[in-house]
């Protein structure tokens, strides 16, 4: 018997008992759909996070904070449950919780670190324009490096070393400040209200808007400013105060040589640790969220796997019944010369078909779910995250899944298929 005939035979055999076949396929479908839908959500989420990571500059920089400060923050957060932490002048003094200019020099000498900048206190009161009387809160941040790729909606990213004060804004500010669109505000001068800390006098600082950012979960509302604007703001805040105040910092951002890879990054973190600092990248921060999310995905995948296991027992059962029903037919086919291997193959293909249809329908229904759910999700709970498609299909992964389900079905089918193949034709023909 030729293979196409065997496949045709196997499939027409399946449809002899439509109800039983349908129920078995349904069981396979439930397991496959669970796995496929979860994996689609996983793909959707990781695609979004990856895109966001790229948009935020990926692993291009390391954020540095003193270990003592981290400890202090942790002890405060866990105070309710663990009680006060004992003071140790060696590790807990205020001196240990700041990054001094001396520390900055040491950090910049760590091999692999290309530049390091301290985060300064550039808090401003408001942002305003001459188009409207309304003033808005804003959280500017000095961009640590402009060599990273930031997701810009309009205009361009600030030039860090430009002599002119520049700012890129979060989306929404343009219309709030009285401009028609994001494009309209590019090249316009806006006003930042800054307070002198020593005297509490309000001053204004002007800056040019060079770009508007895209919405993102990772930028967390930061509007980026360049060095020139940072210096102007610091001039106001620390007017009349000693220089050391101005240079004090508790956070620093270092650019590292990405070509060193993960291993290089680990070395840099070790060096920072020796100096008494903690280095984290965006990936480290996202990593925790991702790990939690992956754990949920894993649980669902295990559910799907258990459903598939139950379904494969269903396949075994279905095929055992089929072998029983077709005993005489198997006997006749063997009598008129069909080999053992081909009988095994016929039943195996029946099993594989059950797996294929179950998982293919799973893919189909998951695809329908994607078409229906994605727009709903984007309009509701993912409204503020443009570009986030809840479910996305990773085609090679899906193909692997279908193949895997077919392989599982094949394995399940081997038991009944072997029983069929080993039937003695004489016994089988005598079977009533």
């Amino acid at each position: 018997m030729k293979l196409p005939d065997i496949i045709r035979n196997a499939n027409s055999n399946l449809f002899r008992n439509k109800g039983r076949t349908f129920l078995t396929i349904l069981a396979v479908f439930i397991g496959s759909f669970t796995i496929i839908a979860t994996s689609a959500i996983r793909t959707g989420v990781s695609n979004y996070i990856d895109a966001q990571l790229d948009a935020a500059g990926g692993e291009g920089y390391v954020e540095i904070m003193p270990k003592a400060l981290q400890e202090l923050m942790q002890s405060m957060m866990s105070f309710g449950s663990s009680g006060p932490t004992e003071y140790n002048p060696e590790t807990n003094s205020t001196e240990m919780t700041i990054i001094s200019p001396d520390d900055m020099k040491k950090i910049s000498k760590i091999p692999g670190i290309q530049s390091v900048k301290g985060a300064r206190n550039v808090s401003v009161e408001y942002i305003a324009s001459d188009k409207t009387n309304k003033k808005y809160l804003i959280m500017p941040n000095a961009l640590p490096t402009d060599r990273i790729n930031i997701d810009i909606a309009e205009g361009r990213l600030i030039k860090i070393n430009s002599d002119l004060p520049e700012i890129t804004l979060q989306p929404g500010y343009a219309t709030a400040l009285g401009y028609k669109s994001d494009a309209d505000i590019i090249g316009e001068m806006i006003e930042l209200g800054v307070v002198e800390e020593a005297t509490m006098k309000l001053q204004t600082v002007k800056a040019e808007v060079v770009g508007v950012l895209n919405k993102s979960i990772i930028n967390m509302g930061r509007s980026w400013i360049n060095e020139a604007l940072q210096e102007k703001i610091l001039d106001v805040i620390y007017a009349g105060m000693p220089e050391s105040y101005r240079n004090m910092t508790v956070f620093a951002t270092a650019e590292w040589d990405k070509s060193l890879g993960d291993e290089g990054l680990e070395k840099i973190k070790d060096e920072l640790d020796k100096l008494g600092f903690v280095g984290t990248t965006i990936n480290d921060q996202i990593g925790m969220v991702k790990a939690f999310f992956d754990a949920i995905i894993l649980v669902f995948t295990i559910f799907g796997g258990i459903a598939l296991l139950a379904a494969s027992i269903g396949i075994i059962n279905t095929l055992f019944m089929a072998v029983q029903e077709r005993t005489r037919e198997i006997g006749l086919m063997k009598a008129i010369g069909l080999g053992k291997g081909k009988i095994f193959l016929t039943f195996s293909i029946e099993a594989i078909s059950l797996g294929f249809w179950g998982s293919a329908i799973g893919v189909g229904v998951a695809y329908l779910a994607k078409i229906i759910i994605n727009p709903i999700a984007s309009d509701t709970f993912l409204k503020d995250l443009p570009g986030f498609n809840l479910m996305e299909f990773d085609v090679p992964l899906l193909a692997c899944l279908i193949l895997l389900v077919m392989a599982v079905a094949f394995l399940a089918g081997t038991l009944p298929a072997r029983r069929a193949a080993n039937k003695d034709p004489i016994e089988a023909l005598r079977y009533e």
Partner: protein
């Protein structure tokens, strides 16, 4: 006609069970069947006649002794070759028909060629040919289940004929039929024997059917007790 016998056996013995519960189904059976003979294997139930047919048809292997098919020792053949021999050279007709009752007559008849791996158009052509011989061309598209008993057995004969067999084995071919339809099936088989020179090996306990064969082999307790040739019929021992 080939000078060698179609099927020959030497000291064929078939034993079931072990030691104390041992049963000798066949006991040193030696015979030769030539091309064109019609042979009835007769005996009471338990005489070993079915076992003999199974061994001759290569459905069962003997415990000892030799089976030669066209001069070739079948006990030395590989499983594949045995399957092939049954598929190419033998046809089978059973008392209980053994058809796929939900499938069409045509598909049932084509089964041996499907197993042989012959392409579809050729299968169909040959199936229509043999359906013509058994006079069931009009029923080709009908479901096997919708046929009468006689028609079913004729479909089975068509199925047995489709590969141009050298031997047709028939196990109580009229056992499930009334005398009129039974006679029709008998006529069909003996016509094929005469016109196409197909060797018939019929297992039966129907004395009338056995009498129509050119040779009768009587079995008792696994031994041949009588091997007679009916001289007033066409045929004979070679």
């Amino acid at each position: 006609m080939s000078s060698k016998p179609v099927i020959a056996t030497k000291n064929l013995t078939k034993v079931y069970g072990k030691k104390s519960s041992m049963v000798k189904a066949l006991d040193k059976v030696s015979l030769e069947i030539n091309r064109g003979e019609s042979v009835a294997i007769i005996g009471k139930s338990g005489s070993g006649k079915s076992t003999l047919m199974h061994v001759l048809a290569l459905l069962d292997a003997p415990s000892s002794g030799k089976v030669e098919i066209g001069g070739q020792d079948a006990t030395k053949l590989k499983k594949r070759q045995i399957n092939r021999a049954r598929n190419r050279h033998f046809g089978f007709v059973f008392q209980q028909f053994f058809m796929n009752s939900r499938d069409t007559v045509l598909n049932n008849v084509m089964l041996p060629l499907k197993i042989a791996g012959i392409r579809k158009s050729e299968r169909k052509r040959r199936a229509m040919e043999v359906l013509k011989i058994v006079d069931l061309t009009s029923k080709a598209k009908a479901k096997a289940n919708d046929l009468s008993g006689g028609q079913k057995q004729r479909v089975c004969i068509a199925r047995a004929l489709i590969n141009n067999p050298v031997v047709i084995f028939a196990d109580e071919p009229t056992g499930n039929l009334d005398s009129t339809t039974g006679a029709m099936v008998e006529n069909l088989l003996f016509n094929l024997n005469k016109e196409k020179n197909i060797t018939l090996i019929i297992v039966t306990h129907d004395e009338d059917l056995a009498a129509r064969c050119s040779r009768q082999i009587h079995l008792k307790d696994g031994k041949i007790i009588q091997d007679s040739v009916t001289t007033n019929k066409k045929g004979g021992r070679g």
